[in-house]
Symmetry: C2
Subunit: 599 residues, 2 copies
């Protein structure tokens, strides 16, 4: 089965035509880059993803990690892939040149990561987590901590993990119980149990660096008493050599429906009373420190969900073009040869829906990644501030919408293949199983909804959302006079108005009755998400409309597809936000009023 990772024409469209990533090279940090260096990085990523990641994707699913009580065993291909990734410098792709990095824009590194996620999301999990942990280390670690741990992580010699959840506290970090006891030395002793730790133990590399949330003895209760610790699997001597095995032990593996190649673990810290952890930054700042990397990690999860959907779309499109079956409803003569199923309107509906979900989601993820670049490197402070506000509002949407709708795309990919799609002989069923995780991890979508409505929508006087609405209105204004787009411009404008009015009603109500206002947070998240995706589609259709005339045939067809997918999204998907806005504006209390005894 040839891996179909991404439509590179589409990726180029997103980066260069939609997001003008080349403009970033005007900034000092990216001055040594140009489209050719971006292309080189993308080609390298594509090649490694195709040759080292894709080939063992199904095999790792069928042969999940095992634990014999001492050691976790993974397929050898996993380690080879991670090493190839690191050797190509991709672990440090966005890092400074003087750290051995490539100093690439974040949006380009995410475009690279996208191909690994569609090739093999489970194996991509190891570098993904390591890069996130390295970012936290850079942001919050002491000079000494950074000095000891960062380079080995960027070189792929040490992997990283995030240790937040505990068996009794998944989404509720306020209830974390892991304890940290100060010692006379520079470290604390940790004790407690962590759950759902991806990459928590393995033999892929020489060491693992855990980023652990724990409470220092005497800390205030709740989230205000959580601190962040660095806990290595093996201690590291001052010269960088490995020291003793630390007291962090694998309690067991979780056996999942999908995403099986990423070993997921329960870890015990300090079973023998000797688990060394190093405090990062100030005490009791752990939650804020974690949130610092949340935008990036959540956008990464959204991108992973997107690429699982995207891979399924490409596979089902390929199948639909090759598979002859049936005839158009008006062609009754059974002696005429069957047509390829892509010729059936309902199959095209399923393909067009997948295209609209996945390319719309990819545009959103890369837009958000581009904003991360703006947040850090935009020339003026005001632009950086605005990018940060936009990101705050968009992050829960980027995490949640693709994890719902690109999963729906995977469901449709199976349907296009029919019975074959339900078998393990084709990749689409694994993509569907893998993708189901993304609604859950890195904060369930219910948590994202509370974050969006309970915090982000009203944050900074609602400025983040206002900026987003401004972007939508500006896009609608640009499209209003473009042939064929006026209908969608009007619809986006109306949708933005609905979103504004709905938000105002919910925030006003929250002052009287926060529980009632928040009870439909999930519907609000859906409303915002669908409106945001409509915005990404009108932006894409605008670019396509401008470039379509006079383009070579292949390009003209590509642009026509973008405009058609935009039309699909505005006609088939966006209209449901009208009913959602009515429900929300009425402050419906159906779920809130439901009593447990009535179930």
């Amino acid at each position: 089965m040839t891996a179909m990772l991404i439509n590179r024409r589409d990726l180029d469209f997103m980066l260069y035509e939609l997001l003008d990533v080349e403009a970033l090279t005007a900034r000092p940090r990216f001055a040594e880059h140009g489209r050719e260096t971006f292309a080189a990085a993308l080609d390298t990523a594509h090649e490694i993803a195709e040759k080292r990641f894709a080939p063992h994707n199904a095999k790792a699913d069928a042969n999940e990690p095992t634990f014999d009580g001492e050691t976790v065993t993974l397929l050898p291909e996993v380690g080879e892939a991670v090493r190839a990734f690191a050797s190509a410098g991709l672990m440090a792709a966005h890092q400074d040149f003087d750290l051995g990095g490539m100093q690439l824009p974040w949006v380009v590194t995410q475009a690279c990561m996208a191909m690994f996620q569609s090739a093999n999301v489970s194996t991509a999990g190891y570098p993904f987590l390591t890069m996130a942990a390295a970012n936290m280390l850079q942001a919050h670690g002491s000079q000494e901590q950074v000095g000891l741990f960062l380079r080995p992580m960027l070189e792929g010699r040490f992997l990283g993990t995030m240790c937040l959840s505990e068996p009794q506290a998944g989404s509720s970090l306020a209830d974390i119980r892991t304890r940290a006891t100060p010692t006379a030395e520079d470290h604390y002793l940790l004790s407690g149990n962590k759950m759902w730790i991806s990459g928590g133990d393995n033999e892929l590399t020489e060491n693992i660096v855990h980023m652990v949330l724990a409470r220092i003895e005497g800390a205030p209760p709740g989230v205000k008493g959580i601190s962040l610790f660095l806990v290595p699997k093996f201690l590291v001597n001052a010269d960088g050599s490995l020291g003793a095995r630390n007291d962090v032990r694998l309690a067991g593996l979780n056996h999942k429906m999908g995403y099986r190649g990423t070993v997921n673990t329960a870890l015990n810290f300090g079973e023998r009373g000797n688990c060394v952890g190093y405090l990062m930054g100030e005490p009791h700042q752990g939650l804020a420190q974690m949130f610092h990397m949340m935008n990036e990690a959540r956008i990464g999860v959204g991108l992973g969900a997107t690429m699982l959907g995207y891979a399924g779309y490409l596979h089902s499109l390929d199948y639909a073009r090759d598979r002859p079956q049936g005839r158009p409803p008006t062609a009754k003569d059974p002696t005429v040869a069957p047509i390829a199923i892509v010729g059936h309107a309902d199959v095209r509906r399923m393909l067009l829906a997948q295209k609209a979900y996945c390319e719309g989601a990819l545009a959103l993820c890369l837009t958000a990644a581009r904003m991360i670049d703006d947040q850090h490197t935009a020339p003026d402070a005001e632009a950086r501030r605005r990018a940060g506000l936009l990101l705050d509002v968009l992050t829960p949407v980027v995490k949640a919408w693709p994890s719902e709708w690109c999963l729906e795309a995977n469901k449709l990919a199976i349907q296009v293949l029919g019975g074959y799609g339900y078998t393990r002989d084709y990749p689409v069923e694994q993509l569907y199983r893998d993708n189901r995780l993304n609604m859950i991890h890195e904060g369930t979508n219910g948590i994202q909804a509370l974050d969006l409505l309970g915090r982000k929508a009203g944050m900074a006087g609602g400025e983040g959302l206002a900026l987003l609405l401004d972007e939508m209105r500006a896009c609608a204004a640009r499209a209003a006079d473009v042939e064929g787009l006026a209908e969608f411009a009007a619809a986006l404008s109306a949708a933005a108005d609905r979103l504004r009015a709905t938000t105002a009603a919910l925030l006003a109500a929250a002052r009287e009755d926060a529980e009632r206002s928040l009870a439909n947070a999930h519907v609000y998240l859906e409303l915002v998400g669908t409106t945001v995706i409509a915005w990404t589609w009108l932006r894409q259709a605008l670019v396509a409309s401008r470039r379509r005339d006079g383009a070579p045939d292949d390009d003209a067809a590509f642009y026509a597809g973008k405009i058609q997918a935009c039309r699909y999204f505005f006609r088939f998907e966006l209209p449901r936000t009208e009913a959602q806005a009515r429900l929300l504006s009425a402050l419906d209390d159906t779920t809130l009023a439901m009593k447990e005894a009535w179930f």
Copy 2:
């Protein structure tokens, strides 16, 4: 893990309060029955489902059937379960007393089957297929064929299969290639390959009876040249003893994402030129004969989808009541104990949605089963005819809606359990994998959509749909004056009007441009389905409203839950049909106009 098969209070509500199944005992065929004999059958089914089917559900998933080139091996528990089912007389539950049957109403037998499907849908597949094949045999077999094969099937000594699909022809029966050559004797010789045959080979019983579609040499092309054959695995002598092994061979097994306990096979007929098949009924009538049992089989698939969703609902409800985590959004004090997650509005949303989908779907499936009883046993011919027309329209909905939305329920059940739900330690992930099949088999939902809009909606001058709309309007009229239901009565009435107008527009357009009219058949199926489920909910809420006052506490809570689920469905789900009706009435051609080169 205790199996949670069904809420028996809910099942009793459906049978006795909603559908007045006891009234059937006034008909001669059911005169010897009463509520106590129905209850005895339901209790027997419940006990066997719980003790013989549920315990090996996860085990059969983890240990799928194997084929060593000669023999298919299943878990021994599967055979024990099928034998227990047959020994209790359930294989013949609706059959005549003089065939050893119980002469139960179809709706009661379906209520029994529901519990097997929620306990273990894969093992339930064997009796399900056998009963369907037995019904075909009764309807179309010669006296001799019935005499030889029916009793062993009803006694569970012979199992049955349906052999329609071929590798090159899944949904397109016009392209079936399996050939039947007449001989000088009473049989034909068959040759060809069949695909996706559930139960196609196994050692559970002494024989298997295949119902096979094939073309007699010289038959007209397309569906008009298909005939139905009975092909036993072992020939049966005139005295009922087994004869020679017939030339039907297992070519291989299909390895599925779920539903793994039902062995799914590719079969070769006549590899050695000696596959004996007996023509059933007249030549070239095979498709019509198959459709004869389609209503029943498709309703069975819808019921299976419903019960997988229902089981997930019960499991996630149980979990949500037991699992403490987090606090209400307005309770900020982290030293207060966490609440059970059923206390969170978003968890209640996910539970209420599951309840609304699954209990709504169950009401629909049992309503349809009750119509099958009316079709066969209603006292006057006109009532029988009307029941048949209603069934024709409802059947594609009963098959498709639960397979979409009770799958959605399974997705939500996983979400309620969070990370735990994604592991194989809990049953909800298997239910989700199992349920994904139901959108595909027994005619994909795309085929159901074409059947509904292309045939059923306009059939008999549209009388079937008109009868359905009459039922909805009558229900709305009854509810209009009931306290608390006026809002929903008005909404159902408006939805029925929308459905009528949309159908008229589509059927009128079909006379000009059938392809365009049919291009959005799937959206039409969704529109009809959601409207139909709203109708089942208003009917349930009506009964609950009437009985709520003065009921004992438990009953009052149960009825309050029904009314709240009705409210949920009308507020959160039904409104999306407005946008669907607009899209359909505008005869949108987005999918039809999409060109292959644009993808």
